[in-house]
């Protein structure tokens, strides 16, 4: 009886040791792996998990949204539609690349160079939570990632507290060319706005990529209370862009234009997923929706 108990104890101890060693080797393997993160979300998530990638993708709105641990990391310029230069990537000796569907065309080349490519570009807040856990699993920091995800959920819940029942109708645009694209429900910006207490003017519409050029007739008919543009411009261009949008002949009679509630966002937090989503939600509430 005692011998059987001793044997069971030895098996249990051996199992625990094996599991611990296994976890340790997975973790150290991830830490040893040379990782490149092309999106701000994956770069920041890795930094939060204690992993500093060897390269990160150039960010659209400057480096403000990058974690301090990433400040000295080599930035790779990204071009459409291939993403980073393969020679630069090869020079970094990257083994694992966290990329985005945007750069899909370049993925074959990366794989040919022996790199493992993982696409991770969440388009909704809940997808961001799932992606955080996935990244943790891939780099061997699953427990940490789970904790991070849970903490993010708590912060998001706090940031979305106290939203009034009456929600303003909002048109969120990308670009300010003569044919701006509207963010739909299945876009990052669309989901963030919805959580911040807005009703999307494009509610009910879905398209690949979460963006579509919508008819100005619909804009006039649905009459947005607020228009927010996410431009690709420097801050000094913002007043001129806001003026252009307010005087757009198609929209000048909308409530948004009449009440001077046409805004131009100064960063890319509504365009690309970020780990600081609760900050973005608070900003949207105070700056644009005025419900926070």
């Amino acid at each position: 009886m005692r011998a059987r108990r001793d044997r069971a104890l030895r098996v249990a101890v051996a199992t625990v040791v094996a599991l611990a060693l296994g976890a340790g080797s997975a973790s150290s393997a991830a830490a040893d792996e040379r990782i490149v993160a092309l999106t701000p979300f994956t770069a920041n998530t890795l930094a939060q998990l204690g992993i500093v990638p060897v390269g990160i993708g150039q960010t659209l709105g400057g480096r403000d949204r990058l974690a301090p641990a990433l400040r000295g990391v080599r930035q790779l310029p990204l071009s459409h539609p291939n993403g980073p230069n393969l020679e630069q990537l090869a020079a970094l000796n990257a083994q694992l690349v966290f990329s985005s569907p945007t750069w899909q065309r370049g993925h074959a080349g990366m794989r040919r160079l022996g790199m493992r490519v993982v696409e991770s570009e969440p388009r909704s807040v809940s997808a961001m939570i799932t992606a955080t856990r996935n990244i943790g699993r891939i780099v061997g920091r699953e427990a940490q990632a789970r904790q991070r995800a849970a903490a993010a959920q708590r912060r998001i819940a706090a940031a979305t507290r106290g939203i009034p029942r009456k929600k303003p109708r909002v048109l969120l645009l990308l670009g300010v060319g003569r044919t701006p694209y509207a963010f739909l429900e299945n876009s990052w910006g669309g989901d963030v706005l919805r959580r911040a207490g807005a009703r999307l003017l494009t509610g009910g519409l879905k398209a690949n990529g979460g963006l579509a050029r919508i008819s100005n007739e619909t804009v006039v008919k649905r009459n947005p209370d607020i228009i927010i543009a996410v431009p690709h411009a420097t801050p000094e261009n913002v007043p001129a862009l806001a003026r252009y949008l307010r005087t757009n002949p198609a929209w000048r009679r909308t409530s948004a234009a009449r009440n001077k509630r046409v805004y131009v966002s100064q960063d890319n937090s509504l365009l690309q997923a970020g780990t600081d989503v609760e900050r973005t939600i608070r900003q949207v509430r105070t700056r644009y929706l005025r419900n926070g």
Binding site: T179, P180, L205, E217, T218, V220, N237, A250
Partner: protein, 328 residues
């Protein structure tokens, strides 16, 4: 033969009228026909429906008509003047220049977005001027081959410059894509107000060139013996085409297909190459095709708007291929 030509004119005119009615009555928002008529007659109450008809649909319909007509006439003039069936506004560099002008504003100076039509127009005309300056300089000035080669070179130059801009500002590319793909917008009368003098000058010049182009079709020697100066006519046709195509590009982006195919469709359908027939019927047909394509583009998946280029090609190419097959 007269019956055949008259039939083609009647079909083109009916298509244009039908497309105009469809363009004014169909859209993302359901506006009853009664309200459309009231709005057009000035009897409608102020409100969103009146605004949709008068501020969005009417300017867009008008833009589609002048752009479609302008591009088709530009193609007809160039094909006649250069005696080349492949001639279109692309050949004299206008499309490449306008694309660069638009990309420059959209990508480098986005805060001057209101200048987009001016930029496209100006660079379209600059490119055409460069082509003619090169073609008229050196030995054998004004020769057709020289003009076409100069056009290809200048187009390549502006095309490369546009690509460089797109590469230099990858994060702003999305703003420029729709312009480069070609398509109309519902931005009221703003763009038409900028470019109407250029359209007017182009159309007037085109009408004046009809007879000289018919003489030119007989060969340079015969034309000269009839008192026509081939080089002057080619220059005039190039100028008219440049004005029309640059003005069209500043409103609707790059829609090269119309200028190339419509004059051929008209010649094949009507069975004649007389410019007195080809130029006006091309104008009617180009306007009808662009208007029909644009109405489809903004209603098929309404309220999402699709680019007009592919739809127009889908409408025009089967007809073109059918006529081409019968002709050969």
């Amino acid at each position: 033969m007269i019956l055949r030509r008259s039939l083609v004119v009647a079909v083109a005119a009916t298509a244009l009228v039908s497309a105009t009615i469809a363009s004014l009555t169909l859209g993302a928002v359901d506006v009853p026909v009664r309200d459309v008529i009231d709005a057009l007659r000035g009897d409608a109450e102020p409100g969103p429906l009146r605004e949709i008809v008068l501020e969005l649909r009417l300017p867009r319909t008008f833009s589609a008509i002048i752009v479609g007509a302008g591009l088709a006439v530009a193609g007809a003039l160039l094909q006649g003047a250069l005696a080349n069936p492949l001639a279109s506004p692309d050949v004299i560099g206008v499309t490449g220049g306008a694309g660069f002008g638009a990309a420059l504003i959209l990508l480098v100076f986005p805060n001057s977005i209101a200048l987009l039509p001016v930029g496209a127009l100006a660079f379209g005309l600059v490119a055409a001027t460069l082509v003619f300056a090169i073609a008229l300089a050196g030995p054998n000035p004004g020769g057709i081959g020289r003009l076409i080669l100069a056009g290809i070179a200048v187009s390549a130059l502006f095309g490369a410059a546009t690509t460089s801009l797109l590469t230099a500002y990858p994060e702003r590319v999305q703003s420029a894509i729709f312009f480069l793909a070609g398509g109309l917008t519902s931005n009221g009368w703003t763009e038409v107000e900028v470019v109407w003098p250029y359209f007017t000058a182009g159309f007037v010049l085109a009408v004046l060139l009809i007879r000289p182009l018919d003489r030119l079709a007989l060969g340079d020697d015969v034309a000269q013996s009839l008192g026509t100066h081939p080089r002057t006519i080619r220059l005039g046709a190039g100028m008219a085409a440049a004005l029309l195509a640059a003005a069209a590009a500043s409103i609707a982006g790059l829609l090269g297909f119309l200028g190339l195919v419509i004059p051929h469709v008209v010649r094949l359908a009507g069975g004649t190459s007389r410019h007195g027939y080809v130029v006006p019927v091309s104008a009617l047909s180009g306007a009808a095709l662009l208007l029909a394509g644009d109405t489809l583009a903004r209603t098929i998946k309404a309220p999402i708007e699709l680019p007009v280029g592919p739809l127009m090609v889908a409408l025009g190419v089967p007809l073109f291929l059918f006529l081409l097959r019968r002709a050969v």
